[in-house]
């Protein structure tokens, strides 16, 4: 039903493609076409490295429709190395290990399944960076 809605976002979901403002250099994710810092048009694509640090996190025990099967799961605000904050789930990590400031990197995972008609949506989540990379 909303396949086009998700298809449109594939470059963001699979590759963290945002934009860079040619005027002031701000790196923007999500892409938004107008730079919030200098109000100039910003259409130049920019691919983020996918590396960052946990800014904040929360483990959810009550899920919206379509996410019940994942409970409990941990969502986070991740501060990307290039600047922006991004909202995403943490994955492949022990609850006890998570802390603010923990280095993380982007991976692609299943975000949700759209019920019986079978649309499965993939996108970015973040996992702990291996120690040698951090």
């Amino acid at each position: 039903m909303d396949i086009p809605r998700h298809w449109r976002l594939q470059r963001q979901r699979y590759a963290l493609v945002g934009e860079v403002c040619k005027k002031c250099g701000a790196r923007l994710f999500p892409p938004r076409d107008v730079c919030p810092q200098c109000s100039q048009p910003a259409y130049e694509p920019f691919q983020f490295s996918g590396k960052g640090k946990v800014y904040s996190y929360s483990t959810l025990y009550q899920a919206p429709a379509g996410y019940e099967q994942f409970v409990p799961y941990t969502v986070a605000l991740v501060q990307l190395d290039e600047g922006p904050l991004v909202t995403a789930q943490l994955t492949d990590v022990d609850q006890d290990e998570i802390q603010i400031g923990m280095p993380v990197e982007m991976v692609t995972r299943k975000l949700r399944e759209e019920g019986e008609d079978g649309l499965i949506i993939y996108g970015y989540k973040f996992r702990k960076q291996p120690a040698e990379a951090a």
Binding site: Q12, S56, Y57, L60, Y61, Q62, G66, V75, L85
Partner: protein, 390 residues
């Protein structure tokens, strides 16, 4: 253009509850008819109806609330429409009503906030509330509305060295005040121990950090201040300020997530309109959807320094006897949070305080009260300052 002063001449509200036996239109009708009776006006005198509501389309399968409710309450034919701004819908409808009267378009306007939330299962309601967030970049990751607030609360605790139990005074205060409000949903008191042991929903937010959603409706009747005396000799409340500001919908799009810049802008625009400052405000109905929002609101509106909102609560200054009483009838936490109705409940409660009709919860000599309604996690913020009119 010279704007007219606007006054509130009637208020009405239903109890916030799980009203299994009542539909959205019945709830709205009860509040509107109560407000019209309180204002001593006949249906024929009403020029327009503005309905604040967030989720009727999703949860009740019903949009087009303006015409629906106008017809249902005997106002068929008048101008009527629904206003939506997430949990800020109620105050947004009031702001529209205020503008119509202030600008001279209408003389008598009824504003109603209504929400019917308990017909659906939990996951559906949770999905609905998440619609206040960014669908493509927040909600798709399974982050709920509670979860977004939990992200803010965790970071707040980290940056300012605050413990979870330090937030307890917000909940204890709200429940204490709701205990003597017959319209409140949760009328039992809560202790610090109960607060600390409550079931976790989105770590660190537990059940007693969170406002309770419910069904409810509240309404006010507006007219030009110069006409108010025709309807009411006493208990007229003047709207001294009405101000709105916005921020990025998604928390991750804000340069400083722990600062509610729209709450600050909205409050300070309102102070400027009224020619007052935070120290002149006698009571503050803030948007305590979660305890963290109380702390952030007190800071943004100038009642506490950055990072000190929790300390203000711990010092007892938010209680009825304190420097700046908040949630004097229970707040969102304990009166209950029928989301699109909340902004109107807040204003009804401030009006009752200024009329001296708040019963056991009366703030002595209250002259100036403020209500601040927030949509989403701070993206829409609408502030009204009300004053007792002699």
């Amino acid at each position: 253009m010279k704007m007219r002063d606007v006054s509130i001449i009637g208020v009405g509200q239903t109890k916030v509850a799980e009203h299994w036996d009542r539909s959205l239109r019945h709830l709205a009708g009860e509040a509107i008819l109560a407000a019209m009776k309180d204002a001593h006006i006949e249906p024929a005198a009403v020029d327009a109806l503005y309905v604040g509501n967030m989720l009727s389309g999703l949860l009740n399968g019903q949009e087009h609330l303006g015409a629906l409710i106008a017809d249902f309450v005997g106002l068929r034919g008048i101008e009527a429409l629904k206003v939506e701004a997430a949990c800020g819908s109620g105050a947004a409808a009031l702001r529209l009503g205020y503008a119509m009267v202030a600008g001279g378009i209408h003389d008598l306007v009824v504003v109603c906030g209504v929400e019917k939330m308990t017909d659906t299962v939990n996951a559906e309601t949770t999905t609905g509330l998440a619609m206040a967030a960014d669908a493509d970049y927040e909600s798709i990751h399974g982050v709920t509305f509670v979860g977004i607030n939990a992200l803010l609360m965790r970071r707040y605790m980290y940056e300012y060295g605050v413990k979870h139990e330090d937030f307890a005074p917000f909940t204890v205060n709200a429940h204490r005040n709701a205990a003597s409000n017959p319209y409140a949903m949760f009328r039992e008191r809560v202790t610090v121990e109960q607060f600390s042991r409550a079931r976790m929903i989105a770590d660190p937010i537990n059940l007693l950090d969170s406002s309770g959603i419910g069904d409810g409706a509240a309404a006010v009747v507006l007219c030009p201040s110069t006409m108010a005396g025709e309807y009411r000799r006493e208990g007229v409340v003047r709207i001294r300020a009405s101000a709105m500001a916005t921020d990025a919908v998604a928390v991750h799009d804000r340069p400083d997530p722990l600062w509610l810049s729209a709450a600050e802008a909205s409050a300070f625009k309102a102070y400027q309109q009224a020619g007052v400052g935070p120290r002149d405000i006698d009571l503050f109905e803030l948007h305590d959807a979660f305890t963290i929002m109380s702390a952030l609101s007190l800071e943004a509106a100038g009642f506490a320094e950055r990072g000190k909102g929790v300390r203000l609560a711990q010092a007892g200054e938010i209680a009825r006897e304190g420097r700046i009483p908040i949630c004097t009838m229970g707040g969102l936490k304990a009166r209950g949070h029928p989301v699109g109705a909340t902004g109107v409940y807040q204003v009804v409660e401030v009006a009752l305080q200024l009329r001296g009709e708040a019963g056991p919860n009366q703030i002595p000599n209250a002259r100036l009260g403020m209500a601040q309604n927030i949509g989403g996690s701070g993206a829409t913020v609408i502030t009204h300052i009300l004053e007792a009119q002699d």
